[in-house]
Symmetry: C2
């Protein structure tokens, strides 16, 4: 570094969409035809080292342009900012973005505006880790506990969890770090696969993919449920027959039910021993999840991919509403808020099993689970990262699955970088793929 302070000089945004709805990949009871998409942001600097910060919000098609507009609205907070200060303290940006009082009105801390903050904050962490020459999981796991605590916003969670408690957890987590890191590098972090379970797939495809999942080393699969009970029973029976009793089968209703329905439907599936019921009802319904949990035990209750922020997670934990907490790397306010959520989960003793899939969510969230293992939970027991084999080919450092485990990524950064060719092909509506596709659709009229 010279005495001259280097700056963020550009915040480039892209509306990237993949036509996944054409194969019914990703179809569930609430989302029949998703086109997996990313509102993508690239931070560029004048450092001259060629390093950029990449981040994104995952969406499922329409509205990805709104998400891009929300990221664009954050540009004034970034342009001209010192790269060194930003990477030394990403939390300062996080506070500034959440504290922009005019933009805050659009949430607060939820929905489009909050996901935009998450994309930008994650891009800063990507840049920070690249500059440090470390994969993000390793940077976080070796960071000073005091500094990690300084990255957490305790506003609205201080009644349940204090900075002092966070510090104590992180200091305790240092014991055995080196041994766990060796194990992680050897063995990876356990995954589970949702690939067999999409609602749009035939019974034959489900059976074949479930058998394949076991052959690939997975010890848990997941099935989408909630559209039709008779179908669910048949699909669950087929899946159980395909995988045997030694493999866990989670089921996922994607918010389809009211509280009473959730209890009745889950209990109707109980003979096939589902491991957890995921998103049984609205992600906003803390008390509803607590009631479902009581009503479906011993089936576990899992949720989180649509939980808007740390404040709702705090209450889900306070209300004993969860057996499994599912963080998402790109819905809340980025790494800083996910640190808060991982710390809350550790305090309340609830295992974290991240949501992934979509576009690049596996790539991101593995870093957070690996940090959790190394620095907080100390174990991978009852902890698995979702895996779906979609769209990884578009990433510069795609996840690598070995024997049902996520291999620890070694490439510096947050694994968020998409290939330039993928961006140029799938930019909507003017990328090469969409331009040809939309022209074809017009010709067909």
């Amino acid at each position: 570094m010279t005495a001259h302070a280097h700056r963020i000089i550009a915040v480039d945004t892209y509306d990237i969409r993949f036509p996944t709805s054409r194969e019914l990949d990703g179809s569930d009871a609430m989302n029949p035809d998703p086109d997996y998409s990313a509102a993508y942001v690239v931070l560029r600097t004048d450092v001259g080292d060629g390093l950029e910060g990449h981040g994104f919000t995952f969406t499922i098609g329409r509205g990805n342009d709104i998400q891009v507009a929300a990221i664009d609205a954050l540009r004034p907070h970034l342009l001209g900012r010192s790269v060194q200060e930003l990477c030394a303290d990403p939390g300062s940006l996080n506070r500034d973005l959440i504290g922009d009082s005019q933009l805050r009105w659009l949430g607060p801390e939820k929905g489009v505006m909050h996901m935009a903050i998450g994309a930008v904050v994650n891009a800063v962490w990507d840049l920070t880790a690249k500059q440090a020459g470390q994969p993000l999981w390793r940077l976080l796991a070796h960071a000073e506990p005091e500094w990690l605590v300084s990255q957490v916003d305790f506003r609205y969670i201080a009644d349940a969890f204090t900075p002092e408690e966070a510090l104590a957890l992180l200091h305790a987590g240092r014991h055995g770090l080196a041994e766990r890191e060796t194990l992680l590098l050897e063995r990876g972090y356990p995954g589970y696969t949702t690939s067999p379970g999409w609602l749009g797939y035939s019974d034959e495809k489900l059976t074949w993919l479930a058998q394949q999942a076991v052959a690939d080393g997975f010890t848990q699969i997941k099935l989408k449920v909630g559209a039709d009970l008779a179908d669910d029973l048949r699909r669950l029976r087929n899946a159980r027959a395909a995988v045997g009793d030694g493999v866990r089968i989670a089921v996922d209703a994607n918010q389809r039910w009211n509280v009473g329905e959730a209890i009745d439907w889950t209990n109707a599936l109980a003979e096939y021993s589902p491991h957890w019921i995921e998103e049984p009802t609205s992600p906003d319904d803390i008390l509803g999840h607590a009631a479902v949990r009581k009503g479906v035990a011993p089936v576990k209750v899992a949720t989180g991919e649509h939980v808007q922020n740390r404040i709702v997670f705090k209450q889900l934990l306070q209300a004993d509403a969860l057996d499994v907490l599912q963080i998402d790397a790109a819905r809340v306010g980025g790494v800083n808020e996910n640190l808060a959520i991982l710390l809350l989960a550790a305090k309340f003793g609830v295992p974290v099993c991240p949501h992934a899939g979509g576009v690049g969510l596996c790539e991101l969230v593995q870093h957070l689970s690996m940090f959790d293992y190394l620095a907080l939970s100390g174990t991978t027991e009852d902890r698995v990262i979702e895996y779906v084999d979609h769209l990884h080919e578009h990433f510069a450092a795609p996840v690598e699955i070995r024997d049902g485990h996520y291999a620890a990524p070694l490439t510096p950064g947050f694994s968020a970088t998409m290939h330039a060719g993928s961006i140029s092909s799938f930019r909507y509506p003017d990328g090469a793929f969409w331009a040809a596709d939309l022209a074809g659709a017009e010709d067909a009229l």
Copy 2:
């Protein structure tokens, strides 16, 4: 009507911003410099009667363009739709908008996307009431209970409240309707004023405005608090001296505090007998509000202007977290969701005192409170609509305050229509006001 079905032929949107930050109007502990704004939508038809449906989302400046983009994303659901079917059943549109699975991902049912749905749904209700030649409050109060129930989405609230219970409440509400309507037309609906209480005002301005409020017939005023305790104590003492003991003084922290701070700070203000503490903490913190309510009694707890949807209101009621429920006309999914919230409040016996102010919120929300009085609560005791004397001059049918009461509006519609001249002046950035202002700012550089 002819046999030809008339259609929605245009959905026009406008980014309208008023430079309110220059006078510190609207300044509070979280929002130091709001520029009151509206993401405004006009539905046009081919009926030929000149009637349009107007609606908007209120924002406080930056990000109003994102909100307009979100309304634009809903256009395909409206264009070509039968006007007759739409106005006969606005709930059908409400369900379609909330059910758009790709757009739903951006919430679900919260933040930018949900407020956009609210703007569009409210515009349909404006058109519906205009076509019926009725102010909306009167249309709703005289509507068949069965039809009103059909307008409510019970998803995610059915564990607390069923259609049968809603129907019973509405049938019971029919008794005495005519007498209450006569009283309402004579007397209006009680208001309270926040005009004296903005944080940016001097002590002299506060005292003068508080005395003026009493002279104007208001029996309640509200002060913003939460930035500095010594200031709050002084301002509350001045206000109490100005209004005497017979006038209620509510205080409003605009989400400034954590749970513990909220309890301590409110109790420190108790010697001046605040009537309620509003938004003591995050609007997402149901369990936190319940703890605050226990900790500050007999001061009442009020919240709701930032509560995202019926699901969170349901839980605030289930958790005994509220003494006063504050609906907002333009944050949730429009009239249909506010019907659900008013019905929930009626079932739980919690009085509704709407949030208003901003741009046009007084104009809208009076209709909902008057419906509540006529058809549900049957009383105005302990019920007041917020009043702030900002920006009413931009509306075609501005609210009218007489002796501290909102006069029942008689103009057909939802009172959402802004003057064409106001729209053309305050469109951002190309309206006459902003074009001149931005050119002046450039000249000054």
